[in-house]
């Protein structure tokens, strides 16, 4: 690698801009988390660790964290399975290949909140097409957004609709870059589709799969806009995710200090969890030479 003085011209502008935009908010948040800043008394006083002790006992926050993990993991897992299956279906030559590929990419291009608004009308208990369809089949209508479990399922459906295309895109790009020879070799060795998938396709796709899973887990860990539009956390607190709960505390109730403490905890937990997941995935899927 070259070592030139000019190199700073390339890296520094971007690095400094990013540091300036990110570093201040981060340090500020950490500082605020030790203050009692709220709507009554805005300002940076010293409140010690009391926000953190309050958080420790805040069942609603930990429930929101658990729910986040559940929603994120289940929706990403579904996206992976569906995205991979669809990618495999349109990978080789089929009729109307381009049509399917373009169509399958479309949802990720659309604005999540806007599409969620549409989904809300689809899930509407009495006027929405989903229940209309279910009733046509002679089944009882489902109260999609008004009971706890169905609301979570609705949320997962919207997430899957929106983001399976992203998984599909990354995995299809991966499949298209695979060499042909291993597949020919497997055919020559007499392997059927199942054997070929587990012995050739999966091992070759492992690095790309890990990348795609991690990227999607990172994005999914931030779920909140969908919740805001679809259910507003309801019914009750049944669909509150960590981000959404922090939003309520911080920007609805203006408990800025407490929200900051939640934010810091949330961020740290996410970094730890994602690092561990990345390591585990890498160990399971990638075999070191």
């Amino acid at each position: 690698m070259l070592n030139l003085r000019h190199k700073y011209v390339f890296l520094l502008p971007g690095l400094l801009v990013l540091l300036a935009i990110i570093l201040f908010p981060l340090l500020f948040t950490i500082r605020v988390s030790f203050s009692s800043w709220d709507v009554v008394m805005p300002g940076l006083d010293w409140f010690g660790g009391r926000n953190y002790t309050r958080m420790w006992a805040d069942g609603r926050f930990w429930e929101a964290m658990q729910r986040l993990v559940m929603v994120a993991v289940s929706s990403v897992a579904l996206q992976y399975v569906l995205g991979f299956s669809l990618a495999l279906l349109v990978w080789r030559n089929i009729r109307m290949k381009r049509f399917f590929r373009v169509l399958f990419l479309v949802p990720m291009m659309t604005t999540p909140v806007i599409m969620t608004v549409i989904w809300r009308t689809i899930f509407h208990e009495s006027l929405g097409p989903l229940n209309n369809f279910i009733e046509m089949l002679g089944l009882p209508a489902v109260p999609w957004l008004s009971t706890a479990s169905t609301a979570v399922i609705s949320l997962v459906i919207v997430e899957v609709w929106q983001w399976t295309p992203f998984m599909f895109l990354l995995l299809l790009a991966g499949l298209l870059s695979l060499p042909r020879e291993p597949f020919q070799a497997a055919a020559i060795d007499g392997a059927g589709p199942v054997r070929t998938f587990f012995n050739v396709t999966m091992p070759l796709m492992a690095p790309i799969s890990i990348g795609a899973l991690i990227i999607r887990l990172i994005e999914a860990s931030k779920i909140m806009e969908t919740v805001y539009v679809l259910t507003a956390g309801g019914p009750g607190t049944a669909t509150e995710t960590a981000s959404y709960y922090i939003y309520i505390r911080g920007l609805r109730e203006f408990q800025i200090g407490y929200a900051a403490a939640l934010s810091v905890t949330y961020l740290v937990l996410m970094i730890i969890a994602l690092t561990i997941i990345a390591k585990i995935l890498a160990r399971i899927m990638i075999l070191k030479d």
Binding site: E181, P182, Q184, A185, A187, D189, G190, N199, L287
Partner: protein
């Protein structure tokens, strides 16, 4: 193990029935006997990959038929043809051990486990892979991985032919000769029909008993390495095989000899063969066979020595015959004339070509 028969096989990637020149592989017929070591040789784009794909079943030829031991396999897919193939880049199942890699084709065919173990042991012994059977295959070196690819073909008893597609591309230059030797050894020991595809003259000539030289979709000559070298049937083969290439000299026929640039060379048999031939005539002789001396004599041609390349063990002498360049290869130690020299072209090592095709003086 099988005899491979090609009957008027040709392929065209465009619409069928086009002009013959558009064929990626021009129609031809040939038989590869059971157990032989064969090579397909030609520059990139010569059609050898199409040829290989027709045999392996990846490409179905526009015309003609492919027969394995008399059985028509033209329409069969790769998996149904009972062939094995070693690719340019090593293909292994990287999640599996060496043993499981070798066992894979047998497991796919539901062979009994004790039988699998026996076959794998046998093949591993042959390939010197016994000590690494328990290792994950991905940890082996490139040449060992190529042996595993080969081994997956060898464990099967039903294999009609083993195809090798540029198998030495990623092998260390120092290791190449060992792997070449292993391949030859296996061919000799097992009498498997093996077809080796390469653009590298040396590899083809080292491996195969019979080499098919191809150019622009046409099979130019099929013969033993020695035949290709000593008796090229086409000027392309004379140029492509051997280094330096064969001297190709435009000529005409005269009474009892051949005229090169107004100089008569006494090559009566060649002149007779070419007497009635149509097309441009050329004389071909390899630099090794050009005899050079400092004294004129019967049938000798006077030439100027233009340049001498001293290559340590031998000299390449560039000669000028009235503007025609002729190369001669002379061992060091043999005295060289100064500036002016006389060359002789021995008739048994000299060939005559009409429109590039060799004319046989025997007829």
């Amino acid at each position: 193990m099988a005899r491979i028969e090609l009957k008027d096989v040709g392929h065209c990637y465009g619409p069928a029935g086009g002009r013959l020149e558009d064929y990626a592989l021009q129609p031809f017929s040939h038989v590869w006997e059971d157990g032989g070591a064969y090579a397909l040789l030609g520059p990139s784009g010569c059609g050898k990959t199409t040829f290989l794909n027709i045999i392996s079943g990846l490409v179905h030829p526009t015309r003609g038929r492919v027969l394995f031991d008399g059985r028509d396999v033209t329409a069969l897919a790769t998996a149904q043809r009972n062939i094995a193939q070693v690719f340019q880049f090593p293909v292994i199942y990287k999640t599996k051990t060496v043993h499981d890699n070798l066992a894979f084709p047998l497991r796919c065919r539901n062979v009994e486990e004790t039988e699998i173990r026996r076959r794998v042991q046998e093949v591993a012994a042959l390939l010197n892979l016994e000590s690494s059977l328990k290792k994950p295959a991905r940890q082996l070196t490139a040449d060992a991985k190529q042996l595993i690819s080969l081994g997956r073909g060898l464990v099967r008893e039903d294999v009609a032919a083993i195809l090798l597609d540029e198998p030495l591309t990623v092998i260390d230059p120092q290791q190449k000769w060992l792997l070449r030797r292993k391949l030859k050894e296996i061919n000799t020991a097992l009498k498997q029909t093996m077809v080796y595809v390469t653009h590298d003259q040396n590899e083809a000539m080292t491996f195969a008993d019979h080499v098919a030289v191809m150019d622009q979709g046409k099979v130019m000559q099929i013969g033993t390495p020695q035949e290709l070298f000593e008796c090229p049937q086409h000027t392309f083969v004379g140029w492509f095989i051997g280094s330096p290439a064969m001297n190709i000299l435009p000529c005409t026929v005269a009474e009892g000899g051949v005229m090169i640039k107004d100089k008569k060379v006494p090559l009566p048999a060649l002149a007779k063969a070419a007497a009635t031939a149509a097309g441009a005539l050329e004389l071909g002789i390899r630099p090794e066979f050009v005899q050079i001396s400092d004294t004129p004599g019967a049938g000798a041609l006077g030439v100027d020595i233009r340049e001498i390349e001293n290559l340590g063990n031998y000299n390449i002498v560039m000669l000028d015959l009235d503007g025609l360049e002729i190369k001669a290869k002379i061992s060091v130690g043999n005295p060289l004339p100064d500036r002016k020299a006389f060359i002789r072209l021995p008739e048994k090592s000299t060939h005559i070509y009409a429109s590039g095709q060799r004319l046989n003086p025997g007829t």
